[in-house]
Amino acid sequence: MSTTLLNIVLADDDEDDRMLFAEAIEEIAIRTKLSLFNHGQELMDYLILPNVVLPSLIFLDLNMPIKNGMECLKEIRSNPNLKDLCVAIYSTSSSEKDIEETFLNGANIYVNKPNNFSKLREVVEKVLQLNWQYHTSNLNKDTFLFRI
């Protein structure tokens, strides 16, 4: 619905990335509420809070200190409350091996961090659309895999 608010979460250790991401989200027509986290541990702590409103979509950077994206992903997928969340890996790495590994560990979307802003905006919009479909249509969650 156009009235519903999408809860989006981003965990990235890079300040500039967070900033740019937030700017990109602003420019997208979909109504969103964005939460930002500096590293994996912060994110996980948040997610396991009681009565937390679970986000519709989690963006995870892979390279983070303390707890990196892969570890978070594994934890999310092994947590019964969180295992059905839509997770998008958001990383600079374009190594096939890494990409495959993220999918194996349960990531739904793999996003390569683009190098310019307009592409960033495009990508985020696309991801949000996909995410919307994830939640509202009877798409198969097990095969919900996309690479952007």
């Binding site: 979909i30 495959e100 194996l104 919307w132 249509s137 198969n140 895999l145 996309f146 690479r147």
Partner: protein, 186 residues
């Protein structure tokens, strides 16, 4: 030693049975038209409506009140029907939808994109790709057969659209799904 159980769901039967049970419990006369639509023979009392709504909410089932969302659901349902029906899948989407739902296609597409952030076409493509994914994982059908089932003109067409939509080639996708299965078994 722990034993794992694997489930396959037929949502059609599941939802219909479920709704049936709940409606029976309320002692109302009804007719189930589809997974998304039930016709009440008499007017439903508010109390009963509340009970039903509460009960269903627990399972994540929402009774749509908004006329627009109902329509959208109906559009989605119609698209699903068309894709699954051997006879109808060759029809042009726009004409099928407008015929089935009795609205002009322009109206339908505007309502759809306004409320779902996607166009009907995109949604259809997404759905098709999703079905293709299901076929690839759950059956032994070849790509050719899948392409035929989903009314693609050729395997290349299917592969192209698949890649464009998911960012992965069908074989890469199958590869990952296979590895996932093995990985999960460990």
């Amino acid at each position: 030693m722990e034993i794992k159980l694997f489930f396959k769901y037929d949502f059609d039967i599941l939802c219909k049975t479920f709704i049936k049970e709940h409606l029976d419990a309320l002692d109302v006369s009804y007719a189930i038209n589809s997974v998304n639509e039930v016709v009440m023979k008499d007017n439903l009392q508010e109390e009963k409506y509340k009970t039903l709504s509460e009960a269903l909410k627990k399972y994540g089932i929402e009774i749509l009140t908004d006329k627009k969302s109902t329509l959208i659901e109906r559009i989605k349902q119609a698209i699903d029907d068309m894709l699954n029906d051997d006879k109808n899948k060759h029809l042009k989407l726009s004409s099928y939808l407008s015929d089935t739902l009795n609205y002009s296609y322009t109206y339908l597409s505007t309502i759809f994109s306004e409320n779902t952030y996607t166009s009907i076409e995109n949604y259809t493509i997404l759905r098709k790709v999703d079905l293709a994914k299901a076929f690839m994982c759950n059956t032994n059908l070849t790509l050719t057969e899948i392409a035929y089932r989903l009314n693609y003109s050729s395997v290349a067409h299917l592969s192209g659209q698949f890649k464009k939509t998911t960012g992965l080639t069908p074989s890469a996708f199958q590869n990952i799904m296979k590895k996932k299965k093995d990985y999960n078994l460990q």
